[in-house]
C-alpha cells in the first residue's frame, strides 16, 4: 500500500494492465523517453519496450484512427492526449468510427481503446490547455466518458476502462494530478464503470459533481455541515452513460440538488442530470435544481481562470439558496 498522487495512480494502473495483458499498448506524444508531459507514462518505455510504448508524430486525428485499426486487430491501445484542447482533430475518428465500429459490423469488429486526456483548468497553463469539454464526447452514442476524482478512483476506473471491450474516453484533471495523495492498493481491482460513487452521505441536500470540482464540493460540504446542513456528495464518475438511479434516489431523500461542473453551462453534463431530475425526479424536488458551472465563455487565460472556475464560494452560495428555498 502506498500514498500515491493521481498521476502515479494512473501510471500504476497502466503498468498493471500492461503487465497483465500483452495486448495493452500506450500511444501518444512524448510518452516514451520523456514519460509524458505530466509523467503519466514515466518508466513504461524502460519496462515494456518500444513496441508497447510508442511515441507518435503530432497527428492527433491519426491516433484515434490507429486505435480503431489496432483495436479491430485485438490490441487494447491506450491513446494519450497531452491536453484536451488537442484532441479535437480526433473527434471525427471517435464519432464516426471508434464509437461505431461494433455496431456497424454487428460485433464482428470492435474498438477496445482508452483515450486518455489531460482535462480542465486551474494550473495556470497556456491557452487551450484548460478545456473541460467532456460533454462533446458524452453526447456520442457508443462512447463512455469517465472522470476520476481521486488517486484510488483513478486507479480503479482506469483499470476498468482498459478492460472494457469498447471505447472509453478517460479524462484526467490536471489540477488533481499531484495532490492530494491517497492510499492506492495496486491489486488490479477495477472499480465499476457506469456507477456513481457517494463520497459523503447526507440528508439535506444532494451535491452532484465529477472530476476536479469534487475537491471544492467536498470543501463546501464541510462548510455546510458547520452550518448544520448535511450534504450528500455524489461523484458521477462515468458521465456517459450516467447512473441516474443513484442521483434520483439521493434527491428523493434530500429534495434538493446542486450540480457543479467546470465545463461551460449550456449543454454541459449538468443539463442532462437536471433534465433527468425534471422528468423522473420532479416530485422529489423541493427547490429548483441549481447548476454551478463554468460560464458560457471561453475559459480565460491564466490570470482570470480562477474567476471562471466554480469555487467554494459559488457552490456555497447556490447550496444556501437551494436550502433556503421553500
Amino acid at each position: 500500500m502506498a500514498e500515491l498522487t493521481m498521476v502515479e495512480a494512473i501510471r500504476t494502473a497502466m503498468a498493471r494492465a500492461m503487465a497483465d495483458d500483452p495486448s495493452v499498448l500506450v500511444l501518444g506524444e512524448d510518452i516514451g523517453r520523456d514519460g509524458g508531459v505530466f509523467r503519466a507514462t514515466d518508466g513504461l518505455l524502460d519496462r515494456f519496450g518500444p513496441d508497447r510504448v510508442i511515441d507518435t508524430p503530432i497527428s492527433e486525428a491519426l491516433f484515434c484512427g490507429l486505435a480503431v485499426g489496432l483495436g479491430a486487430q485485438g490490441f487494447r491501445p491506450i491513446v494519450e492526449f497531452q491536453f484536451l484542447g488537442f484532441l479535437y482533430p480526433g473527434l471525427d475518428q471517435l464519432i464516426n468510427h471508434a464509437s461505431r465500429l461494433r455496431n456497424r459490423t454487428r460485433g464482428r469488429l470492435s474498438c477496445p481503446t482508452v483515450v486518455r486526456s489531460v482535462w480542465g483548468g486551474g494550473i495556470g497553463a497556456p491557452e487551450h490547455h484548460s478545456e473541460a469539454t467532456e460533454a462533446l464526447m458524452a453526447h456520442i452514442p457508443g462512447l463512455r466518458v469517465v472522470l476520476p476524482s481521486s488517486p484510488a478512483r483513478a486507479y480503479g476506473l482506469l483499470l476498468a476502462a482498459i478492460a472494457d471491450p469498447d471505447p472509453v474516453v478517460f479524462l484526467e484533471p490536471s489540477r488533481r494530478y499531484r495532490s492530494p495523495r491517497e492510499e492506492v492498493v495496486d491489486d488490479g481491482h477495477p472499480l465499476p464503470l457506469d456507477r456513481c460513487a457517494v463520497l459523503r452521505h447526507g440528508t439535506d441536500l444532494t451535491l452532484v459533481s465529477w472530476g476536479a470540482t469534487l475537491g471544492e464540493v467536498l470543501e463546501a460540504a464541510d462548510a455546510l455541515a458547520a452550518e448544520g446542513v448535511e450534504a450528500e456528495v455524489i461523484d458521477v464518475s462515468t458521465v456517459k452513460p450516467i447512473d441516474t438511479g443513484t442521483i434520483l434516489a439521493s434527491v428523493e431523500r434530500t429534495g434538493r440538488a446542486v450540480i457543479v461542473h467546470e465545463a461551460a453551462r449550456a449543454g454541459g453534463i449538468g443539463a442532462e442530470i437536471a433534465a433527468v431530475l425534471a422528468d423522473e425526479g420532479l416530485t422529489s424536488l423541493l427547490a429548483p435544481v441549481a447548476r454551478v458551472t463554468g460560464y458560457d465563455t471561453v475559459i480565460p487565460l491564466a490570470r482570470l481562470e480562477h474567476a471562471y472556475l466554480p469555487d467554494v464560494e459559488r457552490i456555497l452560495g447556490a447550496a444556501r439558496r437551494t436550502m433556503e428555498y421553500s
Binding site: S59, L62, G65, G69, H97, L109, P241
Partner: protein
C-alpha cells in the same frame, strides 16, 4: 549563390502493359502467361460490372439506397484484390466492390449494406476486412493501425487501403501515410484516381502532377500505374505488397483510371462534365482491353463470353433474390451492438423503443397505421 546543394531527388514512374486496344507492351510479367489467371481477372471484372449495373437498376426502382458504381474502374479493384493474399486485410472506400467480391464479400452483403441494413458489413468471408468507409479518407489511419498490429505481432501480412483521388486532399490520408513511413508499416495505399471527386476534377484537388508523389512527403516510394490495365495494377500492387510483407515498408500506388458514370445514383454527372470527355474515355476502359488480349491469344471466344454473361447474371440474380428476401432487422438491434453489453442506463430506452414498435405494429395491424 552561396552554396546550393541538392539534398534530395525523386522520380515518379508509371507502368503499363497493355495499350488501350489491348496490344501487349512486351515483355509482360510471367504470371500473365497463364490463361486461367488472366481469365479469372476478366471474369471478376465482368462480374463486378454486372453487379454494378444491377445495383443501379435496383436503386432506380426503389429497391436499394444510394449506390456507387465502379463502371470503368474494375481493373483497379480487381487488380488490387488479386494482388492481395487472403490473410492480408482490405480497408476499402465505397467504390471497391471489385476487390471486396474478389476477397469473398458476397453480393448479398453489399446489397444489404447499400440497402440500409448493417448486417451487410458483417462479412461472412474475410472476417478481418474493414467495412466500407464513407467519410472520405478517414480509413487510412485504420489501415495504419492494422498494419501496426501485423508488425507488432511479427505477422507477414499487409493492410491494403484504397482511397480516391479526392481523398488525397484529406489530412487523414497524409497523416496515416507519414506515420506508415516512420514505422515502415506493412501498408500499401492504392489511390484509385478516377479523375473526379463528384463534380470536382483532379486539378482542383491538387497542383501535384501525380498523386503518386503524395508519397514523397512521407518519405515513402510512390508510383503510377495505368489503372485501366489490370495486368499493370496487379503486378505493381503485388510488388508493393510483397515488399511491404518482407519488411521494406509502405508504398503508394496511383492507379490512373476514369469514372465512366455518375458519382453515385444520387448524382447527375452531365451537370458538370462534357459528354465528349466520357465518350473519349470509353476507348480506354479496362474490360474490353483485357478481352482483346485474351481473344488475341486465342484464350477467349464468343461462347466463353456468352457463358460468362449468363453466369454473372445468374449469380447477381441469386444475390438480389437473397437480398430481397432477407428477413427484417428488429428495431431493437440498434441497441444490441452498440456496446459489448447493453449499459444498464440504456435499458429504459430500449424498452421505450420496444413499446413504440409494438404500438406501431398494433396500429398497423389495426389498419390505421
Amino acid at each position: 549563390m552561396g552554396s546550393d546543394r541538392v539534398v534530395a531527388r525523386f522520380e515518379i514512374h508509371s507502368t503499363r502493359y497493355l495499350e488501350p486496344d489491348g496490344t501487349p507492351i512486351e515483355p509482360l510479367p510471367a504470371w500473365s502467361d497463364d490463361r486461367d489467371t488472366l481469365v479469372d481477372l476478366y471474369r471478376a471484372m465482368v462480374r463486378t460490372r454486372t453487379f454494378d449495373a444491377r445495383a443501379v437498376a435496383l436503386q432506380r426502382t426503389g429497391q436499394l439506397g444510394t449506390f456507387a458504381s465502379s463502371l470503368g474502374q474494375e481493373a483497379v479493384a480487381v487488380g488490387l484484390g488479386a494482388a492481395m493474399q487472403p490473410e492480408d486485410v482490405l480497408v476499402p472506400s465505397f467504390r471497391e466492390q471489385g476487390a471486396q467480391l474478389w476477397r469473398g464479400v458476397t453480393m448479398t452483403e453489399l446489397l444489404l449494406y447499400w440497402g440500409g441494413d448493417e448486417r451487410g458489413s458483417d462479412f461472412a468471408g474475410p472476417r478481418e476486412d474493414f467495412p466500407i468507409s464513407v467519410p472520405v479518407g478517414s480509413h487510412a489511419s485504420h489501415a495504419a493501425g492494422i498494419a501496426m498490429a501485423f508488425q507488432l505481432r511479427g505477422e507477414p501480412r499487409v493492410a491494403v487501403c484504397v482511397v480516391g483521388d479526392g481523398a488525397t486532399s484529406k489530412g487523414d490520408v497524409y497523416e496515416a501515410l507519414n506515420f506508415a513511413g516512420v514505422r515502415r508499416l506493412p501498408m500499401v495505399l492504392v489511390v484509385n484516381d478516377n479523375q473526379w471527386a463528384i463534380s470536382v476534377p483532379r486539378a482542383v484537388q491538387t497542383a501535384a502532377t501525380t498523386l503518386a508523389q503524395k508519397a514523397v512527403a512521407a518519405g515513402v516510394p510512390g508510383e503510377q500505374v495505368d489503372g485501366n490495365d489490370v495486368i499493370a495494377v496487379r503486378t505493381q500492387v503485388a510488388l508493393a505488397i510483397e515488399r511491404a510483407r518482407s519488411g521494406e515498408g509502405p508504398a503508394v500506388i496511383e492507379a490512373v483510371t476514369y469514372r465512366l458514370t455518375d458519382h453515385t445514383t444520387s448524382d447527375d454527372a452531365s451537370r458538370y462534365r462534357p459528354p465528349e470527355e466520357v465518350t473519349e474515355r470509353w476507348a480506354h476502359e479496362p474490360v474490353v482491353r483485357l478481352r482483346s488480349l485474351l481473344v488475341a491469344r486465342g484464350w477467349w471466344g464468343k461462347d466463353d463470353e456468352e457463358g460468362l454473361t449468363a453466369d454473372c447474371r445468374a449469380d447477381v440474380e441469386a444475390a438480389v433474390d437473397a437480398y430481397l428476401h432477407t428477413p427484417a432487422l428488429p428495431a431493437t438491434s440498434m441497441f444490441d451492438h452498440l456496446h459489448a453489453e447493453l449499459p444498464a442506463a440504456l435499458a429504459g430506452q430500449r424498452a421505450e423503443l420496444e413499446a413504440a414498435v409494438a404500438r406501431t405494429d398494433a396500429s398497423a395491424e389495426g389498419g390505421h397505421g
